[in-house]
């Protein structure tokens, strides 16, 4: 769109149109009070600011950015209408933070050669975050409380670093070494070790819901490594790895902690006030909402705990209808599927895109299928739709990485040189 201002203008108009249609729906359902005016001003104002600022970044492609603005402001409108119109200021601010994080991710991840040179920092960063999680979150939690109503989840910040760790070294698959009769690539071993350590940490902190996200990122990176030219990974080894993973999953189910097994094997309808409380209420709400919903602000699910994050899909279904909820999910899927339309020009960026897509897809699937009782309830958020500061910030950063894959820079790496002259000059001065 950088060379096509008409396409840019049309995209702005249609994104704005989609938000205005939603706001009109809210206005006609619940009247036009002061909260509604604030909400409309917040949404339209954020739209206009983004449309004005975006061209300054001179990107090759703006599609992902438009989809991000579309989804974020949709989530602001939806979150503001759960149980009555009230401008969700906190969520609106986290959306702005996500947009800022997206810009940061975009600027940092454009040059794949520079990113590959920073490999050791990803491992160090993940190590530090794991240490913080283990030391400061308590033995059975993933949150650090910073004060009243404010807490952060350090394990969320591992995700973008883990994506980068998976994307680096893909091009070093030819450098094989012989250990105990096996041909191995040191980087693959390091990455496997890192994945195992993250999984152990998640297990220890009782956050098994995020485990599939990390496994999904690793699986996407692993597949891209297999596909890299000249890896010659045998099909037997691949089948073996698949079988080992399936066996590990079965063993994990049977040796899982008591509370996990209760969730897996319990019938929600026979325990509607205990373990099945949220899921049974969510299913009733989806059924009551039907295809077109009860209308914004007219639901009952807002009285259930975690209606705005863990079971947000059901809350949207109830108020806006299944059709609109599915369209929202489609918008998210399309946002992460943009690299399929315009594939990245470098293998690093292709791997990074695949890992980000895997993370987002797994998170969406866990939340939606969990709300619909198709899998056990995990408490994982839908990116950009659920409320939550850490999740929103990290999702913004990761979508920025995806955006960078669409507008890469190809720059020859400059060798790092320690500037020994500077201190001398300072001493002389």
């Amino acid at each position: 769109m950088v060379n096509n201002p008409i396409a840019y203008l049309f995209s702005c108009i249609f994104v704005l149109g989609a938000h205005i249609a939603m706001l009109a729906n809210v206005m006609l359902s619940d009247g036009s009070g002061g909260s509604f005016v604030l909400l409309a001003a917040g949404v339209i104002g954020l739209d206009l600011v983004c449309f004005t600022v975006m061209p300054f970044f001179r990107q090759q492609s703006y599609t992902i950015d438009f989809m991000l603005i579309l989804v974020l402001n949709m989530s602001v409108i939806m979150q503001s209408c759960f149980g009555g119109v009230g401008f969700a200021v906190k969520h609106w601010i986290t959306c702005i933070v996500a947009l800022g994080a997206c810009r940061v991710g975009y600027l940092l991840c454009r040059d794949h050669k520079w990113l590959e040179m920073q490999k050791k920092y990803y491992y160090i960063g993940i190590g530090v975050l794991m240490l913080i999680t283990v030391l400061f979150t308590g033995s059975r939690s993933m949150w650090i409380n910073l004060g009243e109503n404010t807490s952060i989840q350090p394990s969320e910040f591992i995700k973008p670093l883990f994506v980068l760790a998976c994307a680096t070294s893909v091009t070093e698959q030819q450098k094989r070494h012989r250990i105990l009769g096996f041909n191995v690539v040191y980087d693959n071993l390091a990455l496997f070790g890192l994945t195992a350590a993250i999984c152990l940490m998640q297990w220890w902190c009782r956050d098994l819901g995020s485990l599939p996200t990390f496994v999904g990122i690793y699986a996407a990176g692993f597949l891209l490594r297999i596909c890299y030219p000249k890896t010659k990974f045998s099909k037997k080894s691949l089948v073996g790895a698949g079988l080992a993973l399936a066996l590990a999953a079965v063993l994990a189910v049977f040796f899982a902690p008591e509370y996990v097994r209760e969730r897996i094997f319990s019938d929600i309808w026979s325990d509607t006030s205990g373990n099945g409380y949220q899921q049974s209420k969510a299913l009733i709400a989806i059924a009551e909402g039907g295809w077109f919903g009860k209308g914004p602000t007219n639901g009952f699910l807002h009285e259930v705990f975690a209606h705005e994050n863990d079971i947000v899909f059901a809350t949207i279904c109830e108020e806006w209808g299944l059709l609109f909820a599915l369209m929202t999910v489609l918008a998210l899927i399309m946002m992460v599927a943009v690299p399929l339309i315009s594939p990245p020009r470098s293998y690093f960026h292709a791997t990074m895109s695949a890992c980000v897509c895997a993370a987002f897809t797994v998170q969406m699937a866990l939340n939606i299928f969990g709300s619909c009782n198709m899998i056990p309830f995990t408490g994982v958020t839908i990116p950009f739709i659920s409320s939550g500061g850490s999740s929103m910030l990290v999702s913004g950063l990761m979508i920025g990485m995806l955006s960078a894959c669409q507008s890469p820079v190809f720059r020859d790496p400059e060798p790092f040189r320690f500037n020994a002259e500077a201190p001398k000059r300072r001493r002389r001065a």
Partner: protein, 136 residues
């Protein structure tokens, strides 16, 4: 009334997504243009096929996973790798082929390619040329 409002919202979202997808397809063409400019509009041409150089690393070989597949037993499964740098200069590297890599008839391990260079891989000959050229 609720049904109409919801349908209108969903329709607006639907149309918006459609417009964004159309814009993405249009961007694809402009992105391709800037890529071609970066690589100086080069391509590889065989006797009856022209191969686009679409990314910064291109594997040539007999294997199905190769970017440029040459179904000929004289070509190794993973024969050579083409890479481009930021200045748009293409380099070809032999990645352990059995029959060797030839550029303008000379056996090479690694070579910087120039316009109209003839690359020999087994019995196959490819011409590195500017897009739309006649080849040899």
């Amino acid at each position: 009334m609720d049904i109409v409002l919801c349908a209108v919202s969903a329709a607006a979202l639907d149309i918006c997504l459609l417009v964004l997808i159309i814009a993405a397809y249009r961007e694809k063409h402009s992105e391709k243009k800037s890529w071609n400019k970066l690589i100086h509009h080069m391509e590889l041409a065989g006797p009856d096929t022209v191969y686009e150089l679409g990314c910064d690393e291109i594997l040539i070989g007999r294997h199905a996973s190769a970017d440029i597949r040459l179904p000929d037993l004289s070509v190794s499964r993973y024969h050579a790798m083409l890479t481009v740098n930021a200045s748009g200069i293409w380099t070809i590297t032999d990645i352990g082929s059995k029959s060797g890599l030839f550029v303008n008839g000379n056996l090479v391990k690694k070579a910087v390619l120039r316009e109209n260079d003839i690359i020999g891989l087994g019995n196959r000959r490819l011409v590195f040329r500017r897009r739309g050229g006649n080849g040899q």
